[in-house]
């Protein structure tokens, strides 16, 4: 190829190293490309200007700069947000969404690190929500202390998730049955299980397809409860669930990078044969990791019912799949997952009002495609190289 009189050629060679910026670059490019492709789909679906749509998504998900400024001012003077608005409303909603996403993401990360495809975080989350509801509504008295109640619900949710994660783990470890299919099938069983209990079954109240409002101690305290003291918090539904998620992320990061068990998990994920020769038990780790993964998803279920304050037939599906994408975008790094989960919370909040509804799912699919598809490209170095005059002559001489 000739450029400004000098000969250049493209040189493609495999990278031997694997620099850190590549993961970040691939994720960022994945999101940008997904937004670009998504724009065309929005156009085809007859939506307004795609750029305007993205602006709306961002505004709904995170708020505007002006709102933030007003909020900081109000915070400094301890007054309420001007003009009866919620200055931090979008951010609060986003954090509420982000906490179950973060927990299901961690469930995926710990399993994916071992190349164990737990696609069943959704079902494990449903069982966790079911068990937490059982404890809150039917087991403990309504007057239980709030933190005892929430702890009991959290334990019940986690245990239910552990039990539900154990099934595919055991089947994989003992009978070598694909965990992809069993976890997926258990998702549907989980959906039907909740439907059975709250739509027509023993837990439904009247025709509401719901358990009815939980007793007060069984719900997350919301920031808005402090509105009398701090007017700025009025109407904000954000709850401590996000801290639960962050604590879990720190724990998983510690397990993966600082503990012996985490080391074993990473070795198995990178090279199962090497792990076997090193005397690491595959079967034991498969079962343990599936239990931990299920437990995290179960905790996400408890977190979600304590935030929704009831269990109903419309209990949110899909967090488990969002967890898969977020895990992949965060390059299976539990700390990066915190940030990506909050971004995705914003995406879900922002797209809630937007028609048509499948946009979030479509964007997630495109993001996953681009991220996994571009991975190979980043393993090669592409360079423009000056071709020396002698070589050109040689090449011409040969031909």
């Amino acid at each position: 190829m000739k450029l400004n009189g000098t000969n250049y050629r493209l040189r493609v060679e495999a990278r031997l190293d694997n620099p850190r910026w590549i993961g970040l670059a691939s994720s960022v490019i994945g999101v940008l490309l997904a937004l670009f492709v998504g724009g065309f789909v929005l156009k085809a679906a007859g939506a307004q200007d795609p750029v305007a749509t993205y602006k709306v998504i961002f505004k709904e998900g995170f708020g505007t700069f002006a709102d933030w400024q007003a909020g900081v001012n109000a915070l400094a003077t301890n007054t309420s947000c001007p003009k009866g608005k919620l200055c931090f409303g979008p951010l609060s909603d986003t954090l509420v969404k982000a906490s179950p996403i973060l927990l299901t993401t961690l469930a995926c990360i710990i399993a994916f690190r071992m190349r164990l495809w737990n696609i069943g975080a959704d079902g494990q989350m449903f069982l966790g929500a079911w068990a937490a509801t059982g404890v809150a509504v039917f087991l403990l008295p309504k007057t239980t202390d709030r933190w005892i109640m929430l702890t009991a619900m959290g334990l019940a949710g986690t245990l239910a998730g552990v039990a539900y994660g154990f099934i595919p783990g055991f089947l994989k470890a003992r009978l070598n049955i694909s965990e992809i299919i069993t976890t997926l099938m258990l998702n549907y069983v989980g959906y039907k299980w909740i439907e059975y209990f709250v739509v027509v079954g023993p837990w439904s109240i009247g025709d509401f397809e719901s358990t009815g409002r939980f007793p007060a101690p069984a719900t997350w305290p919301r920031l808005t409860e402090n509105a009398e003291k701090y007017p700025i918090t009025a109407g904000l539904t954000v709850h401590p669930g996000i801290f639960l998620g962050i604590a879990a992320a720190l724990l998983i990061a510690w397990i993966l990078y600082r503990s012996r068990w985490g080391y074993e998990i990473r070795v198995i994920g990178n090279n199962p044969n090497a792990a076997r020769y090193a005397g690491i038990s595959l079967a034991r780790n498969i079962i343990l990791v599936m239990c931990l993964s299920g437990g995290l998803a179960g905790l996400a279920g408890m977190n979600e019912v304590a935030a929704l304050r009831e269990l109903n037939g419309r209990f949110s599906r899909g967090y488990g799949f969002t967890g898969v994408i977020v895990a992949w975008l965060a390059r299976l790094n539990p700390l990066a997952a915190i940030l990506v989960a909050i971004l995705f919370g914003g995406l879900l909040v922002g797209t809630k009002l937007i028609q048509p509804q499948g946009i979030a799912s479509m964007l997630q699919g495109v993001i996953l495609f681009v991220v996994v598809g571009t991975e190979l490209l980043f393993h090669y170095r592409i360079q423009l190289e000056k071709v020396e005059a002698v070589m050109v002559q040689k090449a011409e001489g040969v031909s």
């Binding site: 009978l175 439907e195 898969v324």
Partner: protein
Amino acid sequence: MNSVELFTLSITILFGALISGTPLLFATIGEIFSEKAGVMNLGIEGMMLIGAMSGFAVWFNTGSIGLGLLAGMLLGGLLALLHAFITITLRADQVVSGLAVTLLGGGFSSILGQPYVGQRVPTPFTIALPLLGNIAAQQLTLVILGLIFAPLAWFYVNRTRPGLDMRSVGEHPSAADSLGINVYLTRYTYVIFGGMMSGFAGATMSLITDPGWVDGKTSGLGWIAVALVIFAAWDPIRGMWVSYFFGLLRRLPLDLQNPALPLISTANNPSVGRLMDMLPYIATILILIIGSRDSIRRRLGAPAALGTPYVRGERGL
């Protein structure tokens, strides 16, 4: 209820199983082809959804069921082409790419299918048959098509030259390559064929077996097809039988609501009916457990290079 009535009822239920199992049959056999060539496509659910939506949309706007089925097939194939590019050319992980196909198919079908939710459905052209009574001609044609397709697929895989090429690419791609078979082209071909069959299966659902379009129409049937491939030991004829069996399971909650059924009717107990909806999913796990015990058969069936990308000139399978 006398014995003649009971007999007629059983025949109706069995025919119903054939109808509701046929979409599964096409999806399962399509996936068998893709996996025989060495590429696992977990995106069946997404391809079925996009097929069901586009098939319904095309029928709605043109009035032709044939065109609808064709559209479903094409879009399923298109989505599979994407999977093929990502996994064969870019050598990305087949599991993750398959998940992306499902999310993408689900998302697109949900967005583009919005105007068609709850719309009018194709009116069946009924014909009267002995024993079965009035049935839709489209459904009968579809069942016959499936009954012809499965043996043909078996013959193609096991008794023809291209079928042998396909299997060799899935078993030992570098050996196939050295015999002059184009590994990449072969894989592309069968992944796309598998996608077309999935798209077709989806379209038959929204147009013929369960007419109408709603979000998430296929409710996990695509995933069941992935499991059936394993249970069928990658054999199209076995795939046909298990598809019909799952067709029966899928209809069972509906059939049991029939108050005419003695003893086992759930007509008076709707909440038990909800639990019955779990049956196909639990049964899927159970057949995998049963199948896993038969480890020798599994070794005979599974293509050796399934799930591994082929890189020309690199060591490996």
